[in-house]
């Protein structure tokens, strides 16, 4: 677990103290000043921090423990009695995964995977191209178009759903994954373009100019010069879009209403409505749905935090 807490790599801190020619004495002073900013000088502080951390963790922990308990135990006693009465099983996961009578979550898990890859790759590719044009091609009307794309960020998804659905039905796409892929692409684009444009602008103009002098066209410059430099930015937004698509409920409910297309999040939400008391199923199911974003998040946390701090949050 590496949380990107160090201030060096965060974009917000670019205007902080220059690192060169810092004498030992000055360094000490800096550290003292840093501490003074936040130190509330109280032995209670650590206690309070631990209390809050526990408060934030216990709900998840409780459901996690529950997911490994036999159904009868779950219904009869709280998970906090587990130490007095330890009994564990993985049966809940097997039941939730395989299910009975086509209710298993494995098919929905597959649907999530089928949805998420095009739902991430397509918008990022399109946004990269658009961001390049906005950043490095000089054409008439560029600024107006860019402002228009930026402004489209404020359109809430809800406003677009019914007309989009009509379009998809007219094209006969409603039983396929195309509506979900296309809508995730559309909804992801404005933010993606904005973020990637910001990253692209940070690349020194001299690099692009040098390539241009060598006779490289825009397509070559994009692929050979800029793309390799943008890998961290692509990773940052990629994780964003991945979590957004995987965790999405609204788009899935509207554009993949058919159980054959339903992703895991929508399936779990459905379970909560229809089998709200079967906690052995719900707890295991919830963790089956959570495990993928959790792995992605924990392994790529630095990029995720960087993406957040670059000013982009989607909701």
């Amino acid at each position: 677990m590496s949380m990107s807490g160090s201030s060096v790599e965060l974009p917000i801190t670019t205007d902080a103290t220059p690192e060169e020619k810092v004498s030992a004495r000055k360094l000490k002073r800096q550290i003292r000043a840093q501490e003074a900013k936040t130190r509330l000088s109280s032995p209670w502080a650590s206690g309070l921090a631990i209390l809050l951390a526990v408060l934030w963790t216990v709900p998840t922990l409780g459901l996690f423990i529950t997911s490994f308990r036999p159904p009868n135990d779950i219904q009869d006693s709280g998970w906090w009695t587990i130490l007095a009465n330890p009994s564990f099983t993985t049966q809940n996961y097997q039941d939730a995964w395989a299910g009975a009578g086509g209710t298993g979550l494995s098919q929905f898990f597959l649907n999530s995977f089928v949805i998420v890859f095009p739902g991430v790759i397509i918008p990022i590719s399109l946004a990269l191209l658009a961001a390049y044009a906005f950043a490095w091609i000089d054409f008439k009307g560029r600024d107006i178009l860019f402002v228009a794309v930026f402004a489209l960020q404020i359109v809430p998804i809800q406003v677009t759903l019914i007309p989009l659905q009509t379009i998809f039905v007219n094209f006969g796409l409603q039983s396929s994954f195309w509506p979900v892929w296309i809508s995730h692409t559309i909804f992801g684009l404005p933010l993606a373009i904005f973020l990637l444009h910001n990253f692209m602008k940070e690349i020194p103009a001299s690099i692009v100019e040098a390539a241009r002098v060598d006779g490289a066209g825009h397509v070559k410059i994009f692929f050979v010069v800029l793309l390799p430099l943008l890998i961290p930015a692509i990773a940052a937004f990629g994780i964003f879009q991945f979590l957004w698509v995987w965790n999405d409920l609204l788009v899935a409910l509207v554009f993949a209403p058919n159980p054959n297309l339903r992703p895991i999040t929508a399936a779990i939400a459905d379970l909560a409505g229809t089998r709200g008391n079967q906690w052995q199923l719900l707890s295991a199911g919830a963790f089956i749905a959570i495990v993928v974003p959790l792995i992605v998040f924990l392994s790529l946390q630095r990029y995720f935090v960087r993406g957040l701090l670059a000013g982009g949050v989607k909701g």
């Binding site: 219904q75 406003v159 409920l249 054959n260 909701g315």
Partner: protein, 347 residues
């Protein structure tokens, strides 16, 4: 070729996914290959880079938004003929209906008591979630700053951001689970009440407080975001400001309130507005935990119910609710952008 438009087996689904990606790459590759040759006019190059995006956004966002605004002003009425009587459809014998311009959808949203309750709940969400989450994020960021366990402590609070709101809702539904008095409680919240000698409580059903127990879940989710951004902002406060304040005799809490907080104000504004918009637009928590029943619905959830559950007569109301969401968001964004501009100017 049926499977292309209706994939059912595992192989068909994976096949259609790979096909979609390959198709996309092929088309984009072709476009880029075509424009990557000498003497292609600049306009064509720009269209190659921007064309697909412009079409996608125009057809997928701009047009639907305009269309929905129109729909929100439409109601279905019985068609009246030239003779002043309803027109009868000769084939079905039913009265014909027509779309008419009307403010009725909006009138209903703002006058119907159930809808007013929805609006009030939305106000609670949009005010309480950002304020409490930001306050918590700020306090927590300060408490763990430069401690030995900073990384782990932050990851714990940040984790709810990574899981879906549906997952979070299930986690908390279990915390709130209710068993009658005397029975063994399995939900932690009620067990705590029992330990304190109180009666168990129907957290999700008892009005009016159930809305606030749903809000707790959203705060739990959003606090990690607030903490991360504010923590980075605190670390970026310039030392000379702090030193100057120290020379003036400010220490501890005083220094924090009168120096650190004003300095990171732009970050606080960004966090509050961002969380407010997320809370406004999200319906996952309400839908998963109560389905909007027991007086807990919010605009985003009511939009979904009206549009996709109520059938035809709900579409106009749903469209109007979506437009209300839209209108609430605009000033928040404008304020946010202005703040960002201001803080850039200061730099």
């Amino acid at each position: 070729m049926d499977w292309l438009l209706q994939p059912t087996s595992v192989a068909e689904k994976i096949g259609s996914m790979i096909l979609a990606i390959v198709l996309f790459v092929a088309i984009m590759g072709l476009i880029l290959w075509l424009i990557d040759r000498p003497k292609v006019p600049l306009l064509v190059i720009v269209m190659g880079f921007l064309g697909p995006v412009t079409i996608a956004l125009a057809v997928g966002l701009f047009y639907p938004a305009i269309k929905t605004v129109f729909t929100s002003f439409q109601v279905t009425e019985v068609a009246i003929g030239a003779n002043g009587k309803p027109v009868i459809n000769p084939q079905t014998g039913q009265r014909m209906t027509e779309q008419a311009f009307s403010f009725d959808n909006y009138t209903k949203i703002f006058t119907d008591p159930a809808m007013q309750k929805v609006l009030l709940n939305t106000v609670y969400w949009v005010v309480l979630v950002p304020v409490v989450a930001t306050l918590f994020g700020l306090i927590y960021a300060v408490l763990v700053d430069r401690t030995r366990f900073e990384k782990a402590a932050k990851a714990l609070v940040f984790l709810p951001m990574a899981i879906s709101m549906v997952g979070a809702s299930i986690i908390w539904k279990f915390v709130y689970e209710y068993r009658p008095t005397g029975a063994n409680q399995i939900g932690l919240a009620n067990q705590i009440l029992v330990w304190l000698g109180l009666d168990p409580y129907q957290f999700l059903i008892t009005e009016p407080w159930n809305t606030f127990f749903l809000i707790v879940v959203m705060i739990w989710i959003q606090a990690g975001f607030a903490m991360t951004v504010l923590s980075a902002a605190i670390k970026a406060v310039p030392d000379d400001i702090v030193e100057a304040a120290q020379i003036d005799g400010a220490t501890g809490f005083r220094l924090f309130v009168s120096v650190t907080v004003p300095t990171i104000r732009p970050a606080i504004v960004v966090v509050i507005t961002t969380v407010a918009m997320t809370s406004l637009k999200a319906f996952d928590v309400v839908r998963t935990m109560t389905g909007g029943n027991f007086g807990t619905s919010v605009v985003a959830n009511e939009f979904y119910t009206q549009t996709f559950v109520q059938g035809q007569q709900g579409v106009g109301i749903g469209a109007a609710l979506a437009v209300v969401l839209f209108i609430i968001i605009i000033p928040v964004i404008v304020y946010n952008v202005r703040q960002m501009r201001l803080s850039e100017d200061v730099r």
